[in-house]
């Protein structure tokens, strides 16, 4: 019933996440946008699960775990870079290029 709308909303949220990644420069906020994308995917899974069985919900569980793991590592990296550069603005992080 709500499958179509939910998938649509999911697509919109996903696109907003992509848009966020596109227009922001702060590493943390970009990371938040990625989380937003994952969340949108979760919505798709859940919506599909309503039609296809609980497998979809299990997938959400896994995605959340992945998000958590990514968060852990991501913050460690962010902290590491912050120690070196005192900034999280990606514009200033371009030692490696060419």
């Amino acid at each position: 019933m709500l499958l179509g709308p939910a998938l649509g909303v999911s697509a919109i949220l996903f696109s907003i996440g992509v848009l966020g990644v596109l227009i922001r420069r702060n590493a943390i906020i970009i990371f938040m946008c990625v989380e937003l994308m994952l969340n949108a995917v979760n919505l798709s899974f859940v919506a599909l699960a309503q039609q296809l069985g609980t497998d979809g919900q299990v997938f959400v569980f896994f995605v959340m775990t992945v998000a958590a793991a990514e968060a852990a590592v991501g913050f460690a990296i962010i902290i590491a870079i912050y120690r070196h550069k005192e900034t999280l603005d990606l514009q200033n992080l371009n030692l490696l290029r060419g």
């Binding site: 848009l19 943390i28 979760n42 919505l43 309503q50 039609q51 296809l52 919900q57 990514e70 962010i78």
Partner: protein, 171 residues
């Protein structure tokens, strides 16, 4: 009725998401993201995923987002006044691309699953009523998806090890 609630939450989720990606302050962004997550949790409930909705609130909004805020505060980014938005050019390009992605996704995901693989209507709701919110999920998770479940353990272990090694202060 249900649809109204769904649409209301969908609106909230979208607006909060937009706010999240446009607020200057990382803290505000994080809070708006939490808002989106909550609205999504409500939609989960409407889609018969009660247990996942709970997880959403607890793990996502609770744990992960707190971590975000924590790091923001730790790194003292909260009061950053200058925006980290890209310049107008970057924003225009970003917006254009984002819209394109949206259109493209919208166009090609309008299709719903074919009938042969769909459960009878209300099946999931019936299972929840019969077996409770957790059991149908757990049933699958611990049998069919035992292996992935175990893998998440390794995943988290690796993540912990990695986080530790990177975040350790001594060099």
């Amino acid at each position: 009725m249900l649809e109204a609630v769904f649409w209301a939450n969908a609106g909230i989720a979208i607006v909060s998401a937009l706010a999240c990606i446009t607020r200057r302050s990382p803290v505000a962004s994080a809070l708006w993201l939490i808002m989106t997550l909550f609205a999504t949790a409500v939609m989960f409930v409407l889609l018969d995923a009660h247990f996942i909705a709970v997880l959403q609130v607890m793990v996502y909004s609770g744990a992960i987002m707190v971590l975000f805020l924590f790091v923001i505060m730790l790194l003292n980014l909260g009061d950053q006044s200058a925006t980290d938005m890209k310049g107008w050019f970057g924003r225009v390009v970003g917006l254009a691309l984002g819209v394109f992605v949206m259109v493209e996704l919208w166009v090609i995901t309008k299709v719903v699953p074919v009938d042969q693989i769909r459960l009878p209507a209300g099946e999931l709701n019936r299972m929840t009523v019969d077996e409770g919110a957790i059991a149908p999920v757990a049933q699958v998770l611990y049998t069919t998806y035992l292996l992935p479940f175990l893998l998440t353990a390794i995943l988290l272990l690796a993540a912990i090890a990695g986080a530790v090694v990177l975040a350790k202060r001594e060099v």
